[in-house]
Every structure is written in C-alpha cells, then in structure tokens.
Symmetry: C2
DNA sequence: AAAAAAACGGAACCATTACTCCGTTTATTA
DNA sequence: TAATAAACGGAGTAATGGTTCCGTTTTTTT
C-alpha cells in the first residue's frame, strides 16, 4: 500500500522581490480571513495610536487570539513591516504618477502629499522614520524603492533648477523625517503648512 | 521634663521660581555629595546614551545604591527634569548674551549653536523635545523661559527684516525639534550643516 | 562616646509586553 | 461523515525596568 502523502502539494508562502508576503492559495479559508483582519486592524490602530500599542491590544480589537496573530506574524516587527509596506507602496505609486507633472511642481507636491498624509498618521510617520532615521544604514526592499522614487523626483527638480543642487536624497529623507516627527504630536494643519513653507523656500535656495 | 524637639529647625528643601531644587544647607554631607554625583553621572549618561537608560545603570555607574537615587529623585522623571534644567539654563544664558549682536546674526547663530550642541547630545535633544513636541500645551518654568529667550531673538530678527514675518516662536520650536530629532540618529555634522542651510534660507523667506 | 537622626543599599515587588506551548476547534479531504 | 491536517486561543513564560521597603551604616548632635 502506498504511503500517504500530502494530498496536494500546496504551494508555500513566498516573498516577492519587494519583500511583501505573497498570499498564495495555500491558506485555509479562516486563516486567510484572519490574516486580513489582523492587518486591517493593525493598520488602523498603528496609524491612530502609534507602533507602541501592544500586540494583545490588536488581537483583542480584531476579536482574535494572540496566538493567531503570532502565527501569521512571528514577531511584532514583521507585523509592523507588513503595515508599513503598504503605506510606502502607495506613496511610491503616487510619486511615479507625479513624474508626469512639471518637475519642480512634482517634487514639492510630493512633499506636501507626504506631510498631509502623515499628519495624524503615526504609522506612516514611523514608516518614513524607518528609512530616514539613520541615513548611513544602507536601505533595501521597499525602503530603497521609496528612496529611489523620491530621488528621481528630486533629480528632475534639480535639473529644472527648482531645487538647490547642494542637497542629496538622504538630506530630503532626513528633513522629511524631522518634519514628520514634529507633526507627530501636532496634528494642527496650520503648523504643517508653515513648516512646509519654510522647507520649500529653503530647498529652493539662494535667495 | 520638656519634650524632645528637633534640635535645630533645619531648613527644608524648596523649589525656586524656575523649578530647580534649591540645595539648601539641610543635607547631610554624604547626601549632598551623592546628589551631586548622581546628577553628574546622569547628565553624561543621558547625553551619550539617551533617556531610556535605566536608573539602575546610572546608580551602578555612580557607585551608589538604587535606593539612594530614588531618595534624591523620587521618580525617574524628576531626575530627567533636573538634568534637562541645567542644559536649558545654559542655553538661555547664551541667548541673552547673543542679544548684543546684530539681530539677524544673533538669531541664526543661536540656531547654529543649538544644533551644534545638540548633535550627539541626546539629553539636550530630549530637553528641547520636551518644550517643542506638543506646542499646544502651555509651558511653564524653565521651558517657558527658554521659549521667551528664543522669542526675543526671533522678534528682533524679524524687526530687522532678517526673518520672515509669518512665523511664530512655536514654529521655531517645532522646527528645532524636528531638526534635533533628525540629528539624534545622525551625528554627521555635514548633514547638520546642510539642514541648517535649508532652514536658514527657508526662514529668511520670499526668495 | 553614646544616642538620635539621616541616609544608604539592594533585594523584592509590580506592571508591562513580547513571545511560546499545547489542548481544543475548525476546515478540508477522501 | 469520519479521519486528518491546519489553525485557533489564551494561559503561561521571560525579560525589562520603575519603584518600594526595611535592615544596616554613617553622620551629626549632645
């Protein structure tokens, strides 16, 4: 009698080039549902309350056991990464779209967009912090993609003379990081506007 | 027979208007020595390693028991306040001195000074963060003094036309906070220079 | 120098949080 | 629908870090 073997060689979860987990067909129905739900809740909670919210809290709000959360995302870090990933992905997409516009406009519009979206979204701020905090650490995956997208906008703007030349992408990331951090505790959009004004004029340079 | 009474009504520790603990004569010799030592060590450790360093660590490095630290500073918060206080005090003094200079110069020199001193000093960054993070919360004590000192420099600079007029002190505090935070993880002074350049030009305004 | 007061030291306590383990439940398969 | 595999849930574990308590030591007073 032939040995029992896994009835159908289920395809494994894999990771695509960008680092996102490709949700293959291999998950059981309830599992896929739960995974989705966790991600949903985590995204909202992280955005409104910050990354320090304990996993238990997220599990509770999702109406799901802690163990389940950990099966899907073996560490808190990985859950955060997953959430952060989609935020960055969306921004990258926006950046690409903007490349159509006038170079100077594009760059500054992108900055505005980030600031606007970031105001009041602690998860997004953290996402940017993760690629902007320590600019010496080489990036990879989605963070690198993001930096490249931003870099392209910057380059174009510089070539068009809309942004000073003595500035690099990493400087922008760093500045962005600072602005975000400031806005983390001040969701006043008036402040955001004024800071953006200063940054904008400063980036144009030589008065 | 008369009841025993405290031989000498020792003067109590009090707090002066700025919030600093006035070290009266009431402390025993070893106590005063220890208090000083704790403050010294804490200042250095907080500066180089940040405020997250546990109290135990500070006690150990000072060669003093944990209990002793807590007798002098009933909560970690109070120890931090004490450290932060002296940093701010020094900055305020500098600000006053600078008022002598040309208004525009004074203001920008002060910004440079803070950035220079802040680069690599996590305690100082935290000190500024504490008065700049949430600009809606009304300040008091030393933080208010600091804001006022900064405000005075700003006012003069604005009246002299060296700084744009659509900006308030709290905006400066916020910007400063952001810059500091950025530099917290990047002690590269080149980056500091470039960011300062952008901020400076941005604050001058209307190109 | 003895008594009283002040200060010391650090083990123990408590709260928080990330993460594990395993008995139970649910989905899938045959 | 019974057997099997997959996934679930949450009590329990471990590490961390702030704070308290109290027996011991040091300083000050008489």
């Amino acid at each position: 009698m032939p040995e029992k073997e896994p009835s159908q060689a289920r395809e494994d979860k894999g990771t695509n080039s960008t680092g996102a987990v490709t949700t293959g067909k291999s998950l059981r129905a309830d599992a896929r549902r739960n995974r989705e739900r966790i991600l949903d809740v985590a995204t909202k909670v992280f955005a409104t309350e910050g990354l320090e919210v304990p996993i238990d809290e997220i599990a509770n709000r999702a109406g799901i056991g802690i163990g389940t959360v950990y099966r899907h995302f073996p560490t808190k870090e990985e859950l955060i990464e997953a959430v952060v990933f989609s935020f960055k992905q969306r921004l990258i997409e926006k950046a690409r779209e903007m490349l159509e516009q006038d170079p100077g406009q594009a760059f500054f519009h992108f900055l505005s967009l980030i600031v606007r979206e970031g105001t009041g979204n602690k998860a997004l701020i953290a996402a940017l912090a993760r690629s902007g905090a320590d600019i010496r650490r080489p990036l990879s995956g989605i963070s690198l993609d993001f930096q490249n997208a931003l870099g392209e906008l910057l380059n174009c703007a510089q070539q068009a003379g809309s942004v000073r030349n003595d500035i690099q992408v990493t400087d922008i990331t760093a500045i962005l990081f600072g602005v975000m951090r400031t806005l983390e505790y001040n969701d006043d959009s008036g402040l955001a506007e004024r800071i953006l004004l200063v940054v904008r004029d400063g980036l144009r340079g030589h008065c």
